[in-house]
């Protein structure tokens, strides 16, 4: 029998109505309803956050074979319109070793209407765009369009994970206020859970094989410029889950109880990958042919490995693939690799010529990440090499280690930092050297202020109309050289010249520059040298042809302080660096010095500034130096830093007044 069209349409209409009814009557889970009932904390006027975290919960359930089932619940309330962009569920996983078995999200508007997001609202995305290939992925549900100010957005998801790692971290605080943050861990009988709290994180509560940690009404964490990472005092928990002694589980099997465990793990997974192929052997010998000492061999091989392209391929992340390099022969053959690939190839090639080297895991972006009390590889995001060297190697990247002897650290990934130095961000950080039995953290060396030098010699002629012509010889070292290399690398000659013209003009668009020479001495003394000439029309202010006013600190004047904020609650890390300048300024005929500051000297324990100005016949000799020591300044001494900068600015901005000599 044929179905009449009218009935069919009615059925379709009914189905559609039912569908919309289901939406309209969507219910939020109990935890989200409870979270949404919480009131916002009192905010300081003019300091309302974009959102408040109402609920942040992780429930970890370890199975007998080490599989981890974790359920996460998270809810926020939108406080300010800018907070709407945080209404976004994000469930990360690693293809191959974990999966998101369930993800749900809801929004609750100001009138308590609940909207349940549909499966079709969920995107599944590769979460890194820099790697050639990565297993890191995420399921994402963007809730911004459903949220208004006052709305609550919440989500929960369950992840099943089969990983070798059994460590994790739980951060209670966020950069917005958190009303409730809790973690619960369940383990099979006989397993041990050890949670170590940092910065006020609580001890656990235990109920049989279930462990709980909970914090409530947490203020937002606030970081301050140049504050060491750990001074932020963000409450967190480090977690170690261990099966019974002697029992080997299929997953969650790795234990890191000491730094020696981390060193041994690093050595165990990396050493087998460094076997040298015949091609590697041949290349290493070719590169070092004629090299007589250790330094020249390390440099030849280091420069070669650095020249290989950086490309990252991440496989087997759940099995520790993020720490395991590809074999040296494979990297050598394809001609590219990531940091661990490069460090491993470097070790392999150095081994060919009889130089021993070890892998070193470091944090490349922050040298204050490592908490020595909790041994773990999780702090580290970068791999370099520690090379055993002799006295022929003498650079800022060398340390004398009581166990390993004389060690040169080599970062074969950095495209800017020459062999013999370390990128500035890595310097001074704690690291693990991947050698069996290495039971202590090692601190990377820190270059002295003179190692990060910006040195300038300048000859300048000042004309009666206020224009100046100058010749400059600049020498950069260390961090300053790296910065200059970065600019040069990313600009062609025309752009580089334009950058100089903008810098030298300092607001005067008529400044002209001729670059005479640019020498990157990365291969020799590691300096970067630029020699140029410049002209700046109207540099000196000509007051009705009677006065000429100009600043003798012609280039790189301190114009403003980086520390304008009135007060500070965290220590301030002063980074070591140095600026030194010697200028000869020829005065215009017909003018005499009417007013000038002859010398300024400011000294603190974190920095020293001096400037002297001396008239010798028709010229002024101007010397200026600014040196910052490697120092942590406590917050109570913050005003000293501000005073120092104020004084430097004042000194750098102080002009010389020339007056016309009466006929």
């Amino acid at each position: 029998m044929r179905c009449p069209l009218g009935i069919l349409l009615a059925c379709l209409a009914w189905i559609f109505t039912c569908t919309t009814t289901v939406d309209a009557k969507a219910k939020a889970p109990d935890w989200l309803v409870q979270a949404a009932e919480a009131k916002n904390p009192e905010f300081q006027p003019k300091n309302r956050p974009g959102v408040v975290v109402l609920w942040d919960e992780g429930v970890y359930d370890y199975r007998e074979d080490g599989t981890l089932l974790s359920t996460f619940r998270y809810a926020i309330r939108i406080v300010e319109p800018s907070g709407k962009s945080r209404a976004r569920a994000y469930a990360s996983y690693r293809e191959g070793s974990s999966r998101i078995s369930r993800i749900k999200a809801w929004s609750i508007d100001r009138d308590n209407n609940v909207y349940a997001f549909k499966n079709s609202d969920i995107d599944d995305v590769a979460s890194t765009s820099f790697a050639l290939y990565s297993e890191s992925r995420a399921k994402i549900c963007d809730g911004e369009s459903r949220c208004q100010t006052g709305s609550v957005f919440g989500y929960e998801y369950t992840r099943e994970e089969k990983s070798v790692f059994s460590q994790s971290m739980w951060f209670f605080q966020s950069n917005v206020p958190v009303l409730l943050s809790r973690i619960e861990i369940s383990v099979p009988e006989g397993w041990n859970v050890e949670g170590t709290g940092f910065h006020g994180a609580p001890a656990s509560t235990r109920d049989g094989n279930r462990y709980f940690w909970q914090m409530e009404n947490l203020p937002k964490i606030v970081s301050e410029m140049d504050a060491p990472y750990r001074s932020v005092n963000r409450s967190f928990l480090s977690i170690d889950v261990r099966p019974p002694e002697g029992e080997r589980t299929k997953h969650s099997s790795l234990r890191f109880e000491t730094w020696e465990d981390v060193a041994n793990y690093t050595a165990t997974i990396q050493d087998p990958q460094m076997t040298a192929s015949p091609e590697i052997i041949a290349k290493a010998r070719e590169l070092t042919a004629g090299s007589e000492d250790v330094w020249s061999k390390v440099k030849a091989i280091g420069d070669y490995v650095k020249s290989l392209r950086y490309a990252s391929i991440n496989f087997d992340l759940g099995q520790g693939g993020g720490y395991i390099p590809r074999s040296a022969s494979e990297v050598f053959e394809v001609g590219y690799g990531d940091c661990k690939d490069k460090a491993n190839l470097l070790r392999s090639m150095l081994g060919v010529v009889g130089i021993k080297a070890y892998p070193v895991v470091v944090n490349a972006s922050d040298n204050d990440r490592v908490y020595p009390d909790w041994p773990s590889p999780f702090y580290f995001n970068h791999c370099i090499a520690a090379v055993e060297v002799d006295e022929s190697v003498d650079t800022h990247a060398v340390v004398e280690d009581k166990k390993l002897g004389r060690i040169l650290f080599v970062d074969a990934t950095s495209e800017l930092t020459p062999i013999g130095e370390l990128p500035f961000e890595e310097q001074g950080g704690l690291t693990v050297i991947g050698k069996m039995g290495q039971d202590e953290l090692v601190r990377l060396p820190q270059a002295p202020p003179e190692g990060n030098l910006s040195g300038r010699t300048m000859w300048v002629e000042l004309f009666p109309n206020g224009s100046i012509l100058g010749v400059v010889h600049d020498t950069y070292k260390g961090k300053k050289a790296d910065e200059e290399r970065r600019i040069r690398l990313h600009s062609d000659e025309k752009e580089y010249k334009a950058i100089y013209e903008r810098w030298i003009g300092n607001g005067n668009s008529s400044a002209v520059v001729r670059l005479n020479s640019i020498n990157d001495n990365a291969a020799t003394d590691r300096s970067f040298k630029v020699q140029f000439e410049f002209a700046i029309p109207r540099y000196a202010k000509n007051m009705r042809n009677q006065l000429l006013i100009f600043k003798p600190a012609i280039l790189s004047r301190q114009e403003e302080s980086p520390y304008e904020k009135r007060s500070r609650t965290m220590p301030l890390r002063i980074a070591p660096s140095m600026v030194s300048e010697d200028s000869v300024i020829y005065l215009p005929a017909g003018f005499k010095v009417d007013d000038m500051e002859e010398s300024v000297e400011i000294e603190t324990d974190f920095a020293r500034y001096s400037a002297t100005l001396e008239q010798v016949k028709d010229k002024l000799l101007y010397k200026r130096s600014l040196k910052f020591n490697d120092k942590i300044v406590p917050p109570e001494d913050y005003s000293e830093v501000q005073d120092f900068y104020r004084s430097v600015i004042e000194a750098d901005q102080t002009p010389v007044v020339l007056a016309r000599i009466d006929d």
Partner: protein, 661 residues
């Protein structure tokens, strides 16, 4: 400039690069010229050069349609080598799949290093309800100057995916020596539809059809795309090709007349009188007789009584409300629900005006920040996407855009000024230019009442008032922010203007009021504003431009100069000087002008009695577009203005006896 390490090529963006060889075809032979080239003739500074780029889009057979890409690049220096690190090909795996592909490096000595197939990594990068994106990525080993890189690949399209449209941008990161584009549409396309194409800034006579049904274009010698201040929009500034198929055969005026007629039919439906329309017109126009007053009343109603989904207070609409918005909604429905999109608001305005007896029409208008209008580019969706309302007042048309919230009555967005507008008409072609607003319509007025200390600290109150396009732009920037966020935004803007100033007591008025001008007031305190040395203070008299950078810092330029709108900036400052200081050298900055286009009129005076400096400046700039050949003149004018804005006077401490007088 595009500097990303990972080059992403998407099938959708189609502003693609490469192309050609057939399945399994050999690499394109290298010419002696390509081998020996040591620098780009187009730009000797370039770190690399695209020697050859081709795209072949073949849709002749629905079962075997594909796009083929070929790219050949010569590396000249380290930057060029660095730019070609990792390469990623992205495509929609629901509609396409990667066919043959390869990449190789030809070294200067002729040795060839081909990337192994195993070094191409395939990954699903996004899955969602609208599709699935996959990528194939690979990395070149370290490249050196002198290397030539070839990349080729083919995207096979499934039966349903094929769309005969192609956009090619010829100016990207590096100069381009030669490009061949070939398109073979399906026979069903060429049988019943019309092939159309358009090029911009290409020295070419257009595409030529060959005996195989392919449309071909060969072009070359393009410089890289570069960033310059006041650059015209990308669509007007770089060379490109747009190939498309029109659904009907109409071209030129015939096409536009037909589109005007379609607009008219649609307008008749959406502005149809109804109960609500009549009710609103009756109530708001009751007792009003003047034509302009009536229109203003309708305009005010539309901008204040209908919630605009794009601007204003977005929180007033729920997600479900937003779902109910459809740009084709009739005015009656929009009025009943009380909210709508900008087009809906314009529809209501048009409907109410028609109901009030005006000859009001919906109109499609070109935008200055997109493709320039061109009669042959027969695609209303490409070059006339904006909508406004045209109303015949007397003999001429006036234009209104109440949907573009914060636009004053009778003013269009700057993008829609001085461009072509197509007015809905049943029979005639009404294609005319829109007017351009004068500088007096867009004024930024800055006022300051300040005091200077002996140490050079400057403090006091400043206030700003905006009109016209200034007002619209600032209000839109404040849109959707809470009062706290608005103050933070304003503070950031002021901090950019005075980096060393402490800014406090920020008051913002009329931020969401479409009828009144936006005003901002605050207190500032700038330590060491004036340089103090010995007995002298050196004072920059134009407080508002203290940290201004030169408008055109470069000595040379490649692109034409584009300015959003004609403008006037009025700056007035009173600075009470320290009591015991007097003017030593107090020349005024020099006023100047250029043919009425650029007028700079600074004035400086002093109130002797109160020892107060009076500074004012009235700056007018009326140009909206200037060819690059005028760069020298324009740069000099702006440089002179900058120098004037940085003008400094000297104050000297009076002797004790003098100060006691």
């Amino acid at each position: 400039m595009f500097k990303a390490k990972v080059l992403i090529v998407t099938l959708f963006a189609a502003s693609l690069i490469l192309s050609l060889p057939m399945e399994g075809a050999a690499w394109e032979p290298l010419t002696d010229e390509e081998r020996s080239s040591t620098q780009s003739e187009i730009d000797p500074n370039a770190g690399a050069e695209v020697l050859y780029k081709s795209i072949f889009m073949d849709g002749e057979s629905p079962e075997n349609s594909f796009r083929e890409y070929y790219l050949r690049i010569k590396i000249y220096d380290e930057r060029g080598a660095e730019s070609l690190g990792n390469y990623r090909i992205v495509y929609d795996s629901n509609g396409a799949k990667l066919g043959s592909h390869g990449a190789r490096i030809v070294k200067p000595d002729g040795t060839v290093d081909e990337i192994e197939k195993s070094e191409f990594f395939n990954q699903n990068i996004k899955n969602n309800r609208s599709g699935s994106l996959r990528s194939w990525s690979f990395s070149f080993p370290e490249l050196e100057p002198g290397d030539i890189v070839d990349i080729k690949y083919r995207i096979d399209l499934n039966d349903y995916y094929y769309t005969p449209q192609l956009f090619v941008d010829f100016q990207e990161q590096w100069p381009l020596r030669r490009a061949d584009i070939k398109v073979r549409p399906a026979t069903w396309v060429t049988g019943n539809n019309y092939i159309k194409w358009m090029t911009s800034k290409c020295d070419s006579k257009g595409m030529k059809k060959d005996a195989h049904g392919c449309y071909n274009l060969s072009v070359g010698n393009f410089g890289a795309s570069i960033d310059e201040p006041h650059q015209p929009p990308q669509e007007q500034d770089v060379a490109w090709l747009l190939f498309y198929v029109g659904g009907d055969g109409k071209l030129g005026d015939t096409y536009w007349k037909n589109e005007g007629s379609k607009l008219y039919r649609k307008m008749v439906g959406t502005t149809k009188p109804g109960k609500k329309v009549d009710e609103v017109v009756g109530s708001i126009l009751d007792g009003i007789s003047g034509e302009e007053e009536k229109l203003q009343t309708i305009y005010r109603y539309c901008t204040t009584e209908i919630v605009n989904s794009l601007h204003g207070e977005p929180d007033r609409l729920s997600a479900d409300d937003r779902k109910n918005i459809d740009s084709d909604m009739a005015a009656e429905k929009v009025l009943n629900q009380g909210f709508g999109s900008p087009v809906n608001v314009n529809t209501v305005f048009c409907a109410l005006a028609r109901a009030a007896g005006f000859d009001a029409r919906m109109a499609a208008v070109n935008s200055r920040d997109g493709y320039q209008f061109s009669r042959p580019l027969a695609s209303i969706d490409t070059i006339m996407r904006d909508r406004c309302v045209a109303i015949k007042l007397g003999e001429s048309w006036s234009y209104f855009d109440p949907g573009g919230r914060y636009l004053p009555f009778g003013q269009l967005d700057w993008q829609n000024e001085n461009v072509m507008v197509l007015i809905a008409d049943k029979k005639r072609l009404e294609l005319v230019p829109t007017p351009v607003s004068q500088a007096d319509s867009s004024i930024q007025k800055s006022k300051a009442k300040l005091e200077l200390s002996e140490m050079g600290t400057l403090w006091g109150k400043v206030a700003f008032e905006f009109s016209g396009h200034f007002d619209v732009a600032f209000k839109r920037a404040l849109d959707g922010r809470s009062p706290q966020e608005q103050r933070e935004f304003v503070k950031n803007v002021l901090s950019a203007q005075w980096p060393r100033a402490a800014v406090s007591a920020i008051e913002i008025s009329n931020a969401a009021n479409p009828l009144e001008p936006l005003t901002i007031a605050c207190d500032i305190n700038i330590t060491s504003y004036a340089e103090a040395i010995g007995d002298r203070l050196f004072l920059k008299v134009n407080v508002f431009q203290e940290s201004a950078e030169p408008e055109f810092p470069e000595t040379s330029r490649n692109s034409d100069m584009f300015f959003e709108f004609a403008k006037r900036e009025i700056e007035i400052a009173e600075i009470k000087l320290p009591e015991n200081f007097e003017l030593e050298e107090a020349s005024a900055p020099r006023p100047f002008e250029n043919k009425g286009v650029f007028i700079y009129s600074p004035k400086l005076g002093i109130k002797q009695k109160s020892n107060t400096l009076l500074y004012s400046n009235d700056f007018t700039f009326t140009a909206t577009f200037l060819p690059v050949r005028y760069y020298g003149t324009v740069k000099k004018l702006f440089d002179d203005k900058h120098a004037g804005d940085q003008h400094t006077i000297t104050l000297k401490k009076m002797s004790t006896e003098a100060s006691n007088l």
